[in-house]
Symmetry: C2
Subunit: 240 residues, 2 copies
């Protein structure tokens, strides 16, 4: 059976302007691969209502699960929750369960739950909350979309909460053979090998070190024994 | 007049599997911002023909310029050139001008221009070549789509070649005020400020350092004088 599929939607002007380097994509990609869920697409869009709504609808329709990152804080440019609600035509307002979490958190820390912070309790009616052990303000899941914070420590904690609730597949295993020859040298025999092992995914990634070209050949699949066979064949081809 | 818009398409299983961390998005974002071109969207898709064709068509239609990264090497998994040709229904084959570049390069280095390396001369009929000063194999431009290598040093060299040929706008300037207060504290007055300066883009990016929450307030716009006015107003609000 094929693995479940997933997409990620990164929301934030700061990444598209080059101010900030996204860190969440790489983290999520590794976690999903380990869980046997195929990350098929990532989109990065700006803090723009129409762009967010359209992307949420398109990705939710096309993939089994969608993970969003960013735009759920207390400031005026945090519009993700309202956009996701709009994408599914779900009512959204300050919800009692989320407000109670925030109230307890700010009471403990002696800070005021002001109007801005209350915005973080805006949750669509039909969503379930995602726990935030780092800074309390929750994420949420609505249909197959998991809405999470952009701050990496919070994003990672939310991924850790959500992933075990999802149906995964067989984890994708990978093996790498590093060959000190350029891609142009190995491409012919590698193409024949990839054809012989067409049930596996075979990729080639060039590198250059101290002026010498080399290639990392990566073979991916779900069956460890089959991968071992492939690597033996590969070594025979390229270390002969 | 609004600035020209752009999108980026990153092609590669290795990024979606978490094996490699993309470096080209951040570079392109910074370069486009400096050139006054608004990067509105980034998509990352796998080495899948249908996914690449659909993304090229959608982004080419929606934005003034599209930059792709990855999949133009000599190995079997390098399918970008053929997919871009298919997206525009343009014939593709080994082209004489690209072959001549490669032939001269491999003659110089005493290596064979074998069948695999010749794949890098597959260029759509109506495309123009993009110079590759690092490793010769060219990128190409077809309509508003610029097809470039995934290897960061080559990608950056190709961006440097293409960017001066594009019509830019006024560069987007940005100023940052670092405030040692959490977003929940500043969100109220910041929202009023953003409304007062609605001709500028105002973003807030939280940070946490040594257990203390703070916010970077970033104001972006094209008019330096207007930005100075905004920063004076902002300092008055948050350092009073």
């Amino acid at each position: 059976m094929p693995n479940p599929t997933a997409a990620m939607l990164v929301i934030g002007d700061e990444i598209l302007s080059g101010r900030t380097r996204d860190a969440n994509m790489h983290h999520l990609a590794g976690q999903l691969t380990a869980a046997g869920i195929d990350l098929r697409e990532v989109r990065v869009v700006s803090d723009d209502r129409d762009a967010i709504v359209a992307a949420v609808q398109a990705l939710s329709e096309a993939y089994d699960a969608v993970f969003t990152s960013g735009g759920i804080g207390p400031t005026h440019d945090d519009i993700t929750a309202d956009c996701v609600a709009a994408a599914f035509d779900d009512p959204i307002d300050i919800r009692d369960d989320a407000r109670a979490l925030l109230q307890a958190h700010y009471d403990r820390s002696g800070m005021e739950l002001n109007a801005a912070r209350l915005r973080m309790a805006r949750i669509p009616d039909s969503a379930t909350l995602i726990d935030n052990p780092v800074s309390t303000a929750p994420g949420f899941t609505i249909r197959n979309v998991h809405v999470m914070a952009g701050v990496p420590s919070v994003f990672q904690a939310m991924v850790a909460t959500v992933l075990p609730t999802l149906k995964g597949g067989a984890p994708l295993l990978s093996r790498t053979l590093r060959v000190q020859r350029g891609e142009g040298d190995i491409a012919g025999p590698l193409g024949i090998f990839a054809n012989d092992f067409s049930d596996l995914s075979v990729g080639s990634y060039p590198y250059q070190k101290d002026g010498v070209y080399g290639s990392n050949i990566v073979v991916r699949g779900q069956d460890a024994t089959r991968l071992d066979d492939a690597m033996l064949a590969l070594e025979k081809i390229f270390t002969a």
